[in-house]
Amino acid sequence: MKGSLRSRLTSSLFVLPYFLCFCVFLLYPLISGIILSLQNNDMLGTHEFVGLQNYVDIFTPGTYIHDAFFRGLWGTVKFVVYSVPFLILVGLALALLVNSLNARVRGVFRTIFFIPYAISATVMATIWMRVFDTDSGFLNLMLDKLHIHHQQHIGWFTDTPWVWIALVVSTIWWTIGFNMMLFINGLNEVPEELYEAAKLDGANAWNRLTRITLPSIKNVTAVVMVMTIIASFNVFAQPNLMTRGGPGFETTVMLMNVFDVAYGQHQGGAASAMAILLGLIMMIVSAAVYRLLFRKEA
């Protein structure tokens, strides 16, 4: 039918720009990456096809790349586990707080909490290294004034577990604005009538939160969780700039090792294989989380 064909043609045309973008910026690099991972490529013009050898090496104990992969994976997984719960809880808390403000100041605080998201990684690192440095850092100077840990300053970047606290805190400051905005949107979708009805029935604030708000934003939470997990798996700037992967290799994350294998060892194929495996792991984790949480509205 003419109408149906035209409407399908129109909708296809609307999707076309995004599809082109997808092909150029996502599909093509992904396929190139997969091809690269099947090569022995020194990133300088020489390459030869080696099939699955890179993947085999990753799972062969004792090889350089096996250690690089699993050490990096361990560091990344630790960061994901430590950072994701806080990134979600703090994002939700900020959204609830901001939404409870009156309309005049709401916008101001939303902006204030979002601004750090817009600054570059280098600026973020400079700020937080200023805060967490062992002897000149702002935090330890404050603790000195309160006579806490006076004899030996806490090594926020040099000791476990303090280094994870430092990384997670600076990550929250840097990126929480994004999660907060998504949660604000989700909260705004909850119908006001539900709250009014609940108040009439005598529900207090805690009940309203746990029985109405949280269940209503379950889908938004699922989306935020998946996005946050993906983002945390991709962590690179914070450990690279602030801790150099230290102390030792405690905070050495996967992407740092991918970078090192690609440009330090000049083995682009092996690095690509590492990255692809990381991507697979991320896909499985995200799919599992999404499956568990997301419920389609009936």
Partner: protein
């Protein structure tokens, strides 16, 4: 909803969406793990086909001098261009952190290749081994450049398989910076020259109750310069003549034991120093001595510190210090004889006129400039740095050497933070280095 029955309207919407989507895709912020230099994927300008600028041959020149030293090289290039009627050097700065990524991309894709560029001396073996660099012997001979025009150490290192692969611009070794005010207050009249003087001075300058330290030991960068220097001072190296790593020799153990002792035994350094901790304390006037590179000069000047410069003390048997060096190299793909003449002409000019580069705080490799009155009249930093030229060592000329010693820095870091077992740590580092060597085939 209105029916979109006007073609123009639909087309306009499509164009608007296309531009929005492309803008969004291009500027898409990577996740909260984006790298610091995320956007550095294309060179600043792409006009590099080497066409003629007016009637002059254009030579595209890449450098990683994205810091304050970039403007000093620019003066040299500008002055050269003014006095040359045949050649025009197009000076392009790449972000320092991205430099080798961009260079590797150019080599790999064979596109956007500069005509000549800066390369660190210890990277030359990696690229020379892959046959990506042009030997400079002919170019130098034609331009009247001789090896003897430059400091021997750099020239010898760049001589690979009998071919001269890079012409040096400068040599940047580790040097000693010290706080003159703190020295004066402690009654110390001259910077230390050996281990005994160093320990005595550092102890006098340490007062934990005031938060003041004689020498704050770095646990990350610049150990890459410091640790090897201590090894060289014992007549040893981090690799043998065959390029095999030797990271757990008695000399290496002694070097790391000494570093550790400054923190835990002599207590002239606080514990748990984080990256750049020693720099921050030096800037605050709470750290009396620091070893770092000449590039720090700008930071100290900006902080208006009353600082002095001197060669690092001889802690062990003989003088020795680790250095890097910026060199000029030419890609193998450069075959245009006219351009090669131009590059030679420019390099000859630089050998005689790199005084501007010296003004950035670097000590130049050209003997002509080093011996000139103008150089000696510059502030003391450069002349102090040049004193070390007789005994500089560079990293072992092993391709991909950086990946061999990645573990070494991590082990040193752990030992210095936790008062750990030195021999065990270095054995670990050695094992990993051998693993990296195996991976490099």
């Amino acid at each position: 909803m209105k029916r979109l029955n006007r073609f123009g309207f639909t087309a306009a919407i499509l164009v608007l969406m296309m531009s929005l989507v492309l803008a969004a895709c291009g500027g898409k912020k990577e996740s909260n793990g984006s790298s610091a230099s995320a956007s550095g994927s294309a060179p600043a300008s792409s006009d590099n086909s080497g066409g003629k600028s007016g009637s002059k041959t254009e030579l595209l020149f890449w450098t990683p001098f994205s810091g304050p030293d970039g403007s000093f090289m620019k003066s040299i290039v500008d002055n050269y261009n003014k006095q040359s009627d045949k050649y025009f050097v197009k000076y392009q700065i790449q972000p320092n952190g991205d430099y080798y990524k961009l260079l590797d991309n150019a080599f790999g894709t064979k596109k956007n290749m500069p005509d000549f560029m800066i390369m660190h001396l210890d990277s030359i073996p990696t690229y020379a081994k892959k046959d990506l660099l042009l030997p400079m012997d002919d170019l130098a001979a034609k331009a009247g450049i001789q090896k003897s025009d430059y400091v021997e150490a750099a020239v010898d290192y760049a001589n690979i398989d009998g071919k001269w692969m890079g012409i040096p611009l400068d040599i940047h070794p580790l040097i000693m910076y010290y706080n003159k005010d703190l020295f004066q207050a402690a009654g110390i009249t001259a910077p230390p020259t050996n281990k005994e003087e160093f320990l005595a001075a550092a102890k006098k300058l340490t007062d934990p109750s005031k938060g003041q330290w004689g020498y704050v030991m770095p646990t990350q960068w610049p150990q890459q310069f410091l640790f090897p220097s201590l090894v060289y001072q014992q007549g040893a190296d981090l690799a043998d003549a065959d390029g095999k790593p030797t990271l757990n020799t008695p000399a290496a153990v002694a070097a790391l034991e000494f570093e550790k002792s400054l923190i835990f035994e002599h207590k002239v350094s606080p514990q748990k120093v984080a990256q750049d901790g020693e720099v921050k304390l030096f800037l605050q006037g709470k750290n009396a001595i620091q070893f770092n590179g000449p590039w720090m000069k700008d930071q100290w000047d900006k902080a208006k510190l009353n600082y002095g410069v001197a060669p690092i003390p001889v802690f062990f048997d003989k003088p020795g210090v680790f250095a890097g060096s910026h060199n000029f190299v030419v890609p193998k793909s450069q075959t245009d004889p006219n351009k090669l003449d131009g590059i030679g002409d420019f390099l000859k000019y630089v050998a005689g006129h790199s005084i501007d580069w010296a003004k950035s705080g670097q000590a130049v490799a050209s003997k002509a400039v080093l011996n000139s009155e103008e150089f000696k009249a510059l502030n003391t930093q450069q002349t102090e740095v040049a004193k070390e030229f007789d005994y500089v060592h560079f990293a072992p000329p092993v391709p991909n050497w950086g990946s061999y010693v990645g573990e070494l820095w991590k082990q040193i870091n752990l030992v210095l933070l936790n008062d750990g077992d030195v021999k065990k740590a270095l054995d670990e580092a050695q094992a990993k280095a051998e693993q990296a060597a195996a991976a490099n085939k």
